[in-house]
Symmetry: C2
Subunit: 615 residues, 2 copies
Amino acid sequence: MNTAELVELAQQLRVDSVRASDAAGSGHPTSSMSAADLMAVLLANHFRYDFERPDHPGNDRFVLSKGHASPLLYAAYKAAGAIDDAELLTFRKQDSRLEGHPTPRRLPWVETATGSLGQGLPVGVGIALAGKRLDHSNYRVWVLCGDSELAEGSVWEAAEHAAYENLDNLTAIFDVNRLGQRGPTRHGHDLDAYARRFQAFGWHTIEVDGHDVDAVDRAYGEAISTTGQPTAIIARTLKGKGVAAVQDREGLHGKPLPEADEAIAELGGPREVRVQVHEPPAARMLHAVRSGHVELPRWDKGDEVATRNAYGQALTALGTGRGDVVALDGEVGDSTRAEFFAKEHPERYFECYIAEQQMVATAVGLATRGWVPYAATFAAFLTRAYDFVRMAAVSGAGLNLVGSHSGVAIGQDGPSQMGLEDLAMMRSVHGSTVLYPCDANQTARLVAAMADCEGIRYLRTSRGESTVIYGPDEEFTVGGSKVLRSSPDDRLTLVAAGVTVPEALAAAEALERDGIRARVIDLYSVKPVDRDTLRRAAEETGCLVTVEDHHEEGGIGDAVLDAFLDGRPVPRLVRLAVRTMPGSASPEEQLRAAGIDAEAIAAAGKLLVEEAVVR
Amino acid sequence: MNTAELVELAQQLRVDSVRASDAAGSGHPTSSMSAADLMAVLLANHFRYDFERPDHPGNDRFVLSKGHASPLLYAAYKAAGAIDDAELLTFRKQDSRLEGHPTPRRLPWVETATGSLGQGLPVGVGIALAGKRLDHSNYRVWVLCGDSELAEGSVWEAAEHAAYENLDNLTAIFDVNRLGQRGPTRHGHDLDAYARRFQAFGWHTIEVDGHDVDAVDRAYGEAISTTGQPTAIIARTLKGKGVAAVQDREGLHGKPLPEADEAIAELGGPREVRVQVHEPPAARMLHAVRSGHVELPRWDKGDEVATRNAYGQALTALGTGRGDVVALDGEVGDSTRAEFFAKEHPERYFECYIAEQQMVATAVGLATRGWVPYAATFAAFLTRAYDFVRMAAVSGAGLNLVGSHSGVAIGQDGPSQMGLEDLAMMRSVHGSTVLYPCDANQTARLVAAMADCEGIRYLRTSRGESTVIYGPDEEFTVGGSKVLRSSPDDRLTLVAAGVTVPEALAAAEALERDGIRARVIDLYSVKPVDRDTLRRAAEETGCLVTVEDHHEEGGIGDAVLDAFLDGRPVPRLVRLAVRTMPGSASPEEQLRAAGIDAEAIAAAGKLLVEEAVVR
């Protein structure tokens, strides 16, 4: 498109942003208007995309990091012919595909859900990495960011990662409209402030008047021709550009324009500009082998193996059998044992350094391109990326997250390194799967099984060795459990997972010496939970003791409750969990101090049974 | 100390680091050895601190951001006479004050718990801000960081914040030993790479040989004399410096030295250097009025007020009555209503921009100096700072966190903006308090009450207006609840909080029309939970329905379980919560779609009662 056409297109995008927000009675038209020229030039002259084939392997990828500017995105879809005007006006209404913030659950052209600021660029880095290192395709990744969100540290994790990986297929477009939600940003219209920072991080930078379509056009061209480093286009813009009543004014964030009809008139009224978006170049769809034969590692009963080791070995084997499996780690691969995979499959291993947000974002980006990522760090440090996990669930992204060094059982390192909130954190994510194996063979099976689950899947591993109690051919289904000990005379049930399984087994033996038979359930699938087995145990034994190496809220004790929320009678319950703040001590001392070792379990079980008898 | 003395001191710190780790059988001596000269020079020549009066208002503040180098810290404490050699050798043993990673719960000289990398500098920024803006004291803040942790985005949030606030009382010392846990860092010994970045962010930078004690001494002097901006001392060091077998070698992170005796000999053997640390300058302890009369806002029953508005007004009133209350916000003060406080008490308001990690870290830093911080953003975006909240709990820090825009009830903005995991996240934090008010008067009372709780306190507010149902003189205790409706004929209990309280009341009325009397409990204190009232309701009505605007895991339904974990009989339970991924819709449509509105509650209650009768 030439200059005049681009200007017309940009005005149409503004008009449609105003119209959509006006119809909705909410939304962010002023944030859309600042970026309308940036969007128009990209869409008309540089973006290569087949809207009828969003899975075309040659398609460029666009991420609206400032997700609240969704009216602009939807206006662009309309200009490209992907949606019609009637649909545009369903914006923010129930069941509309056009949500307040875009999500790929509903729209095939959206790569990742945005709306939590500072996430689009990190995910864009992941997509660009896929293009460079896995897909070997020439697609370009374009990320439109706001200026406010540059305060998020995650943006700088992304900046570091992108430059380090020489992602010249990535262009970040910063819509510097100087106004955040509440008022002016730190740097206002000081484009140099942003340019200095990105240059220092190794980016090519271009400062531009974001309302000069020719200058913007040249900037995109320069970005495309820049090699060896990512490009940041830093564009000076005005929020609400084009409508005097709102342009560059505070207090108008996230509100429809007060006088929409007048604004539309001021913008020159509705238009019917239609963009013929460039076709993507021919590209080969890489068919990574999804279902080759996987030869999982095998251990003998009685072997002493840490489940984190089993994770590393199983993942390596899975990677050998399946070409679509990739691994990421936050510079602790020697601890999580992701390094086993790195040694065997270096081309599919992503070192993310100590930047857990970027690690999860990279995994999300790789997943958008069809790869099956396993991302690992200490369970405790996954808390760093919780907002990214939450947003990945909004996206419907398929991620495997692995947290090692869970619980007080890590011993001497102390509470900063102990994952004690991870089960709660992961369980409360929509549609998640939460697994917590107790031995090596179980771990291996679950590592393989989780690849085929939907959504966010979490595997919790342990630092110390544990005795292998299952044979290598034992099968474990997600949503299942294992009854390790049972008799018709059971008077209570001990429910454990991970490191508390051997403790529960020892407690059952101690109780039997006291004449109390106890059932033991290995609840390796914390979510979904095996309701039937728990319900049966409750009916047959009447009493349940849950025991977990986790804080008492949101973990295994709460998970068990899921089995008893259908209004039927509930068994008597006692929950053993970590209630105090641990310090340094040996693993055995920690379990004892927390009251989750065999002795504590046996004591709790005995008391419960005796109380039940008395009453 | 002169050069020779400094060298001797540094060698002693190395020797004691090796000895402590050797005695423990674990720990990070090589990470301690790289920074020994940096620590020696600081301790002997620049740090001003009274170890007998850690609360001295003039004390400098030291933060070991690379908390795993705790042996170095403890060796320094010994050199300063704060601990003796026998205690040094208790390192990492059960009940020792000398944990694997330092925590202020046990050691009075530790400002904040570290061990999750990238947190020390952000908290240091908070302490420096307190010095500049609140304490008006001349203390200096020194933060010793590793190089690996500079990959964390939180470091760059801190870098931005410190420069923007002209924190020339803050010095960051980067121990660039080029080796992370797993291997080389991204930038190795390229000091310029770090200097460029910090300069771009507005810092004064000094590159130095970290083993040249005179050069380090000059660098500290330059940092002290630098005005108007924070200083970063970027020191080239060698991991394991001083022992050839481990110096600058990979694979030795977090391990005691293989031949400790030989290493100690190579370092010149144990010494008995004792440092006379400089006295802090005289300083006035600012006595902010903690307990002035607080005149909370009052609303009449029937008023329509959003609880977020009540938060803003109550916090403002609290700030008027109490001089120690400060407020922070993540650039959404117009939404959380923290802006009310900002207008009235600008000198005690901290705009943190869109950087939630730094917001929480600033709050932690302010709390270390005795201030009572209230930090607010959308509930959804507090997930961004979860690791900081977790670590604040390890510190035992007193923080008030406020999450607005909770649940699907926000309406059109969609899932990215909805706090649906926040209750689970906050409940699972050790020692936390979780509050969720349903009306304005209740909110005001809880805002005031939470200031005097211990640890992490979380208040969940709502976007939309709700009807005031409590009079302004009604009292609400943390750990309590309110029975809003009850009769001797109640056949079930509805347990609600926040936006589901009016829905539960309406459901109870509908049920009564069907001849079923229902008790209604407002469970505004989600943690601790009112066990007695819940237990009594269970015994008297037999059936409980919980209803919450939150995912089903870890929220109010799970919290209720706390009342029934003592082995006594458990009532029949049904939990209503958000089970699907919401899109955009009106608040009313959202509650209906999620199945947590009055109609859904009434239907569930009826079914439960009828099933109970049948069985």
